[in-house]
């Protein structure tokens, strides 16, 4: 009997082995090595590989770019995720109603998600162009204004947020849509009988039911934004100045332009730390929402 179970386990291990090894080799091991590297001053240009302890981390906090990056990470994450959640909830409601052309609408809704991030980011640079871009053309026709989108730090930040919202809200809406469809209709019927409908039903029934989903998507959304790279790379290159700098992009620059591997590793470790914090904080909220259900 024991031999049969052992054989089953052996088969199971054999089945998961390819995936586990692949992931370990291309993701986990490199990550651990980067952590190790962050304590060294490693630069192929200067041909160094000296142990420097926490120097890289200390330098990181003296670097002007880092606080800017942390600052913008916070701004970008909070505003973009909030906008996306609110808009996606609304879109999910729209997509949940019955109307002709609903199939096409749902398909069109997915198009931004399907587009490559680099295409959108590069095109956004053109769309936000202050003289010839689409957005300013429309704004100009409405009230004659032409904001200097990518030239001015504040508007550049908004441009990054808007582009991110445009691309990713659709995906979120689809998730919320299936969440909406998962709410048992009896709850809504009971609410109607009690005389609550419309906005009240939404606030007291739909939202609480969706809350775990909203929180978990917000957490993943936040993590995804903290890790964002392509958008900043193509749209603003961290500028103007350092107003749209992100840690991921900074680490990339340090690694592949300056070739300062040790420092870049430390930066990416700090980035990972950030992700951990977001994940843990989010998990606490998630537990509370589950408990309330």
């Amino acid at each position: 009997m024991r031999r049969a179970i052992a054989r089953r386990y052996l088969l199971a291990y054999a089945l998961v082995l390819p995936v586990v090894i692949w992931r370990l080799a291309t993701s986990i091991y490199p990550f651990l090595y980067t952590a190790y590297l962050s304590f060294f001053d490693n630069s192929p240009v200067r041909r160094t590989f000296d142990f420097v302890g926490l120097d890289n981390y200390a330098n990181a906090f003296r670097d002007i770019n880092v606080p800017s990056a942390l600052n913008f990470s916070l701004f970008f994450t909070v505003i973009s995720v909030s906008l996306q959640v609110v808009l996606a909830l609304g879109i999910a409601e729209i997509l949940n109603r019955r109307f002709p052309l609903r199939g096409i609408t749902r398909a069109i809704n997915l198009l931004p998600w399907a587009m490559s991030g680099i295409v959108i980011a590069t095109a956004a640079q053109w769309i936000f162009n202050e003289n010839y871009g689409l957005i300013n053309d429309i704004l100009w026709r409405i009230n004659g204004q032409r904001p200097l989108w990518l030239v001015h730090p504040d508007t550049a930040r908004m441009a990054v947020v808007l582009t991110d919202v445009w691309k990713n809200t659709a995906f979120l809406a689809v998730v919320y849509l299936s969440g909406l469809q998962g709410i048992s209709p009896e709850l809504h019927e009971a609410a109607k009988i009690d005389g609550a409908n419309g906005p009240r039903a939404y606030w007291y029934i739909t939202l609480p039911q969706l809350m775990p989903l909203i929180i978990s998507t917000a957490i993943f959304g936040a993590i995804y934004r903290v890790l964002s790279f392509e958008l900043v790379y193509a749209l603003t290159s961290g500028g103007p100045g350092t107003s749209t700098m992100l840690l991921g992009y900074l680490a990339y620059l340090q690694a592949f332009r300056v070739l300062n591997f040790g420092y870049a590793s430390a930066l990416s470790m700090i980035l990972f730390g950030l992700v951990l914090i977001v994940g843990l904080v989010g998990f606490v909220f998630l537990r509370r929402a589950w408990a309330r259900l």
Binding site: L15, V16, S27, S116, Y132, A251
Partner: protein, 285 residues
Amino acid sequence: MTRWKLQKGVLNIGFYILLALFLLIILLPIYYIFLTAFAPGDRVFTQPLTYVPQSLDIIQRYERIFKALPIAQYLFNTIFLATTSTLISLALSFLAAYALARFNFPGTNVILLILLGSTMLPGVSTVIPLFQMFQTFKLMNTLHGLLLLYVSPLLPITVWVLVSFIKQVPTEVEDAAKVDGAGFWSMLWKVVIPMIRPGMATMFVINFIAGWNEFFTPLIFSRGPASKVITMALTEAQVIDASSQFYASWGNMSAVAILVTVPVFIITLICQRQIVEGLSSGVFK
């Protein structure tokens, strides 16, 4: 009662206005990007903008781009990498997902958590050692080297989604097949896989799109036409016919954008329902 009916009428119009606005916001930028490819030379810069195709110069534009860059090679690389990585990912993930879903062996949860956690590792935190490994093993700028990295991020979500699909297949069906004398592998192939075909189809589409749109990996690990993909051609096409350092040919960029985007659009429009199912089931933990 009448107030509610009146509100309903207004609500309806409001609904359709919102709907139209929503569709406009999504479609207008896309239309505009595609449109820019049609503008001849530097007539992209007009004020105010024109919203109608200006000419058919786009054909010559594509000729110039195809002559200046090995786009055909890029396209081939992209198709190859996207398709192959998807197939490998589906095959390996299915095996792992089956084991994780059916066999309750020690380490099941650990493996699932490690897979999930590995998706939160920043790209930059794994790239430096990989870069060095690739140089040591002479994998830089090779298709097979890139393939290794293309498959890797697909594995966790594919496994997670397939696990939830496999769990929905009743074990009685598998037992019945065993009673009929089916071996383990033919049971998998003839019974389990057909039953999770929607899940497999969805993950195929999602993985393919992800592979097609990939940019960061080729940015670091591709150095030439041997392994570059079309997403890289975006900025490369911009500098064709560049008269100065500051002149970026947005028309050329748009032309490449069309190449990068249209195939994915077609796939999305055709497989819309599968995508929606896959995206939503993958999140329900």
